[in-house]
Amino acid sequence: MTPIINSGRTDNKKRLSQAIAFTIFKLMSYSVVLILFLILGFIVTKGIGVISWDFLTKAPEEGMTKGGIFPAIVGTLCLVLGSSIFSFPIGIMSGIYMNEYAAGNKFATFIRIMTNNLSGVPSVVFGLFGMSLFVNTMKFGDSILAGSLTLGLLSLPLVIRTTEESLKAIDKSYREGSLALGATKLQTIRKVIMPMAFPNIITGLILSIGRVSGETAPILFTVAAYFLPKLPTSIFDQVMALPYHLYVISTSGTDIEATRGIAYGTALVLIVIVLIVNLLANFLRSYFAKKVKTN
């Protein structure tokens, strides 16, 4: 009889330790949600009072203690647009090349390793590099062009990787079916593969826009202006940008207390951009997933 009682005890003990461990894990996981809501809640509650039509459409005034952040919003838009023009075509093309043409060969493996390495390079190093190559060597000066190229290089690994993964997810039978019907490889990619991979690629591109719009370190020395109330007129102009603006007014303003409100407002605008980007990406993902199913 004794052994059975014993095993019953250890069973209880086992069950107890499992219950304790799982509760701890659960609490820790929920605290991650809590952290997110703390950050979001804090910035939203403090920043919501600052946001007004004037705040979003006026230039800063009186040593940045009053007025709005319109030039910074425009600047960030310019940079996002500029970097996308550069990184999207190149990124998508190289993703296609790596998955469809060079899959498995040594060269593609090498490129993949390099792409991974590039995605691990700190953003401030991109800033140094952009300054050295685009600003000094190519003589673009501090300009939208230099900043966009730097940001474009930064987002390139992300674009390549999402393209590659989306292509990889497509079943081999589609390619073989198309080729069997006499289509060339290029036709297969254009007419069969790309339309299928498109939703996932778009999702990746949107996420990369989110990342680019929040980067500060790469634009510090390539484009960002401390205070520039006028809007840019050419790609060789400097601009203000939202993340840099937030950094400047929260750390080195002449009157930190007076600019705090504007800092909360700017942080809120940045967060809202990120939220929109993420929601959009999630929405597209589920929308296309449904569409593919019903087809």
Partner: protein, 383 residues
């Protein structure tokens, strides 16, 4: 194919340009451009390192025997100190007599160190000029002080910055690794699909928040909390940086660790359960050991993120370039130094080159991390 190679070309270009800008560092003079240090002719000391010069000018080295010379007190004379030895009339109305007087003074005083602009050095200067010394690699890699605006000899010591970076990153990973693994286990093994569908987007959002917003949050929330809890004069400390970086590294660690746990073969899990192990025993005896290499990559990747992070750290760590002794002191990391100082320096100077050298070091560190992750991944396959 051309577009495919662009990432490789970029890496190559990054290497070339960072090294190009940084390469001049060890050819840059130890004393400020346009100035000279002069000694008495009888003085046997002909060379001084950057650090020694700084210590002399700070009044910490006061005797020549400390730098390998004779027993003789050091007499420090700057251009402005010349008025102590000569009247203004003697120096001339337009200071036209300074070269002659400087030469005379150097000849008279055996322990003198005269610091003066090059154009005041007379043709027949009666003394020895410090040889055109350049910054030695040892001064950079082993230097304990980062003080690039010091006059006359700027200090480019890597150690305080490197140690600052390591302290902050290690603190961050210690905070976020247990957390990250717990969440990964919960996501991969315990929670229901419904909970997972809530947690996943939350983690993605956490990854999407710009670093400058994290920095701002740290500055207005975490810094004051730390200041109050530990009764510190300032809350901007290594600990604040670690906490902020820890939150920022969480999404990376969770995602990579969870992916690793999901690759554990179903058969192994089922075998363990069939043998009578509880779910929890299966997790810590089978699943965690099996996904060890994935968890290691998660940790390494998290450290990589933490080391390279710039803005958030710049905003919350206080940026004092001193070697830290506890987590409750202000520190300055390598990326923060680059971001804070590059805007103020002139292109091509010693300070500029030193900052690019920091960039090179940062780049090398992250390369090592990327390659080691590649290596960890390979090892798993061969097992």
């Amino acid at each position: 194919m051309i577009s495919g190679s662009i990432t490789s070309i970029t890496i190559l270009l990054i290497i070339i340009f960072l090294f190009k800008e940084a390469s001049g560092l060890f050819n840059s003079p130890v004393i400020e451009e346009g100035y000279v240090l002069a000694f008495n002719k009888a003085n046997p000391v002909k060379k001084l390192s950057s650090y020694q010069i700084k210590e002399i000018f700070d009044g910490k080295i006061t005797n020549w025997d400390e730098v390998g010379g004779k027993e003789e007190p050091i007499e420090l004379v700057r251009l402005s100190d010349l008025t102590k030895y000569y009247t203004e009339a003697e120096l001339g109305a337009n200071f036209e007599n300074i070269p002659a007087k400087a030469s005379e003074l150097t000849a008279k005083h055996p322990g003198i160190v005269l610091f003066l602009p090059k154009n005041y050095v007379a043709k027949n200067f009666n003394g020895t000029l410090l040889k055109h010394e350049t910054l030695r690699p040892g001064d950079f890699f082993g230097g304990k002080e980062w003080y690039p605006t010091a006059s006359p000899s700027p200090q480019y010591g890597l150690l305080p910055l490197l140690l600052g970076t390591i302290w902050v990153s290690l603190g961050a990973i210690l905070l976020s690794l247990p957390f990250g693994i717990a969440v990964a286990v919960y996501l991969a093994e315990i929670c229901s699909m419904r909970v997972r569908n809530i947690l996943k987007p939350v983690i993605e959002l956490l990854a999407g928040i710009p670093s400058v917003v994290y920095g701002f949050f740290g500055l207005v929330v975490i810094v004051p909390i730390i200041q109050k809890t530990f009764q510190l004069p300032v809350g901007e400390t290594a600990l604040a940086g670690s906490v902020v970086l820890g939150i920022m590294a969480l999404p990376t660690i969770i995602t990579v660790a969870e992916d690793a746990m999901r690759t554990v073969p179903r058969a192994m899990k089922e075998a363990s359960l069939a043998l009578g192990a509880t779910h929890w025993q299966t997790i810590y005896k089978v699943i965690i050991p099996y996904s060890k290499s994935g968890i290691t990559s998660a940790a390494v990747l998290g450290i990589g993120r933490a080391i390279g992070e710039t803005m958030a750290v710049l905003m919350v760590t206080g940026n004092a370039a001193v070697i830290p002794h506890t987590l409750l002191e202000p520190v300055r990391t390598i990326p923060a130094t680059i971001a804070a100082e590059l805007g103020e320096v002139s292109a091509g100077g010693g300070h500029y080159q030193a900052l690019f050298m920091l960039g090179v070091i940062l780049f090398i560190i992250t390369m090592i991390i990327s390659i080691s992750i590649e290596f960890i991944g390979k090892k798993k396959y061969s097992n």
